[in-house]
Amino acid sequence: MRKWSFILFCLTALAGLIVLVGCEGDTGLTGGQGAKGRRGTAGYDPDQLPPADRVFAFAVTNATENAISGKRQAYLTFDSTAKATRDTVVAGRVSVPPLIDGLDGEEYEWGAQKSKMPLSFLNPDPGVADCKLKNGVVRAAYDDDNIYFQFQWQEQRVAPKINGEEVVVADVGESKELNQLSFFYRGPRADGSANMTLRRVKLFSCQPDSGTDTSYALVRVTYHPLCLYNDGDTCGCWDLRPTNPPPDISYLWVLKPGGEDRLVVFFPDEAATGWQDVAFKQFFGFTSTNPEMPSNFFVDVWGWGAARTMPVEVADDWNISAAGAKPDLGQAPYIDNYIPADSFPRYMNRRDPNVRTSESAAKSTAAIYPLRYFDAVPYSRVGWAEGIDSTAPAARGLRVDCYLPGIITTVSSGSRADVYTAARFDNGVWTVEMKRARRTHNGDDVQF
């Protein structure tokens, strides 16, 4: 037994010695070359990925420049599993783009998702009446290259009674005659003296009695280089004094108050809190708000107007940045047809004067709106219709009112013409449809 124990001990000791002092085995052979990598995955079109979700806002008007209704914030998602709500617009991918024609193609063109959005009154300025636009509907769709929107809203007559009399705040109609210039002949008084009105000319008159009203004159005035301010300084002003020669009071054009029906859509680059206040103030000129504008503020603005843009079937593409609201690069779809300093239009229809006023309503075949650039000729004061009694209401037929459009329709271009738009007005409801490239490659646009 001792013998076996000794042998076992020796073996263990031998093993221990071998472990401690034995040599390591040789290094193995170098491995063979690895197998060739797998073939890369096929390329893909990044356009086929859905755009990123974003927020937006939109505003609508009814024949006014300052009574704004709309939606302060809506969420635009491209997630097909989401459900459209009053705050969320779900854009679906389409294989055949919706027809941009202003006719509601409904589910067949736009898919089943539809957001019914109650419209709220957005103007913070006191004293501005709500036009009570209602029944807002927004649809959206996209494909590889473009994004599409459809907006609908309904107009209604708003005519509250004030002191027993109905005051029309808003009415139902297309309202595409923006800032129509009107004119009627103011003949001399019965004694032959000039029927001149000195009121309401402060901007262009040195007259101390010109009052405080800053709207434009009711008379055609003559520039007088020697006109002086009260303190004796010379000024570039209009002298209305009945001196020799007397001011020409025969032809003067005033802007008819009111505006067009509009839809303005705002897409912020980043939806910082309160971005709408900045955007609305910058674009619509609200005076009651004074929001702070962040330095990196950027909002893309698509402005559609029944007069300004509808005839050329584009929206007017603007942007708002720290520098304020400005149009995108390119030609506008219209030009203003008014020279305020002269109270004159720039252009008239080729067949003016009296293209409309000389014809009865039944014969008024030539609509003034839109007055396109190739139909416009420089304004001439000669030959306009005159009434028998310029002081009588036009409705009595004794006074003839002449009209010219406040804008001339041109062809827009460049980044300003990025947004195709078509619209129809049907039974009080506007349907406005828009299409824009998801990537315009213009720095003045947001990209989808």
Partner: protein
């Protein structure tokens, strides 16, 4: 012996122990990495699907245009150009056909073409019985070339000519032409023809039986609402839609664009510039057209009848009256019409040429007339993103 066995056993046990607990040698060096895998396929637009389309060719006559109502446009390699099949060749590299109306032949288009048989499509046969059609596409664009030779027919008044004067206003001071109580202007609208034309038609949204009868399913398929008893071009279903690429020798060719239109079944559209007061189911894509009508008329309406009391051009050239204006009359050349100073026989175009915009300007096109043969070429984005255009 026993001792020897013990020693052997001990040795074996020692070897076993060495095997069990002895150190392994180091691993060999890492082998050389394998080669890089092949690059994946680059992204490319899917190959367009084969589809039916239609072709119509006119020689200065609306009453006589011939066509191929149903042609098959294929993008695969399984078909050959033959009969009614047009193979659209995939372009590789940077060479694309130049859309200039000049036949670049196989150098531009490859050696494939189809001589399509044309047949009478409306009242009369204009005797143009064949047209050569080529097609090609690349990543972004699709191209077509249509080439045909005109045939004279004295009976129909058809001549082999580049027809550039379809209609005109002619000043006519002869009292005998004035119908008392109807006309207060002395102008006659003289129809010289209907230009030379070619039209390509594609489905945007499915037209029932288009794959059977081609564009014939849209001929006079509308049910008139404005004027009972008449009908018009229309799809039978309001939801169906057909894209129309309309090239014409004078109202579109000078602009470098085809007039992009579409047809659906939504009915007649009121149009105050049409003498009948409406247009049919063919509508212009969104945007400004390649021309506008130079027409002014005053009318009264009684029921469905219009009585025109004044009828004359809306525009004239700056040198009028006292010249004979010719096509094209561009919008920057026009001035307002004046009713005085005209002499008998002087004429003014009935269309004013304009530069198209938006979706109306999707199709770049050019045609050239050479020794009796028209070569008209088209180029358009495969996907314009407009609902009034087909997508390839």
């Amino acid at each position: 012996m026993k001792k020897l066995m013990m020693l052997i056993l001990s040795g074996l046990v020692a070897i076993l122990l060495l095997q069990v607990i002895g150190c392994e040698g180091n691993a060999g060096n890492r082998g050389i990495p394998g080669g890089q895998g092949d690059t994946g396929d680059p992204y490319s637009q899917p190959i367009p699907e084969n589809r039916y389309f239609a072709l119509a060719v006119g020689n200065n006559s609306a009453a006589a245009h011939n066509g191929a109502p149903k042609l098959y446009l294929v993008f695969d390699t399984l078909h050959a150009n033959a009969g009614d099949t047009v193979v659209c060749r995939r372009l590789t590299g940077s060479n694309v056909p130049e859309v200039d109306g000049i036949d670049g032949g196989s150098a531009e288009w490859g050696d494939k073409f189809t001589d399509v048989v044309l047949r009478k499509a409306v009242l009369y046969d204009n005797k143009i019985n064949t047209a050569r059609v080529r097609a090609a596409y690349d990543q972004n664009y699709i191209y077509f070339q249509v080439k045909w030779t005109e045939v004279a027919d004295s009976a129909l008044g058809l001549a082999v000519a580049e027809d550039l004067y379809p209609t005109k206003w002619v000043f006519d001071s002869l009292p005998s032409t004035i119908v008392s109580g109807q006309r207060t202007e002395y102008w006659s609208r003289v129809v010289m023809g209907d230009e030379d034309r070619v039209m390509l038609m594609f489905e945007v949204k499915h037209l029932n039986w288009f794959e059977h009868d081609g564009c014939l399913v849209t001929c006079h398929a509308g049910t008139a609402t404005t004027l009972p008893g008449t009908n018009y071009h229309s799809t039978k279903s309001a939801k169906a839609r057909m894209d129309i690429w309309s090239w014409s020798s004078i109202t579109s060719n000078p602009t470098g664009y085809a007039n992009d239109k579409y047809m659906d079944g939504t009915g007649q559209i009121p149009n105050e510039f049409e003498p009948l007061g409406y247009s049919d189911g063919i509508k212009g894509d969104i945007g400004r057209a390649t021309s506008m009508t130079n027409l002014f008329f005053v009318y009264t309406t009684s029921g469905s009848t219009r009585t025109i009391s004044a009828y004359h051009p809306l525009y004239q050239t700056a040198t009028d009256p006292d010249s004979i204006a010719t096509y094209p009359l561009w919008d920057w050349q026009i001035t307002t019409y004046t009713a005085t100073g005209w002499r008998q026989g002087f004429a003014v175009p009935t269309f004013v040429t304009t530069v198209p915009t938006l979706s109306r300007a999707d199709i770049i096109s050019s045609g050239k007339f050479d020794n009796g043969t028209w070569t008209v070429e088209f180029k358009r984005l495969r996907a314009t993103g407009n609902g009034d255009d087909t997508k390839f």
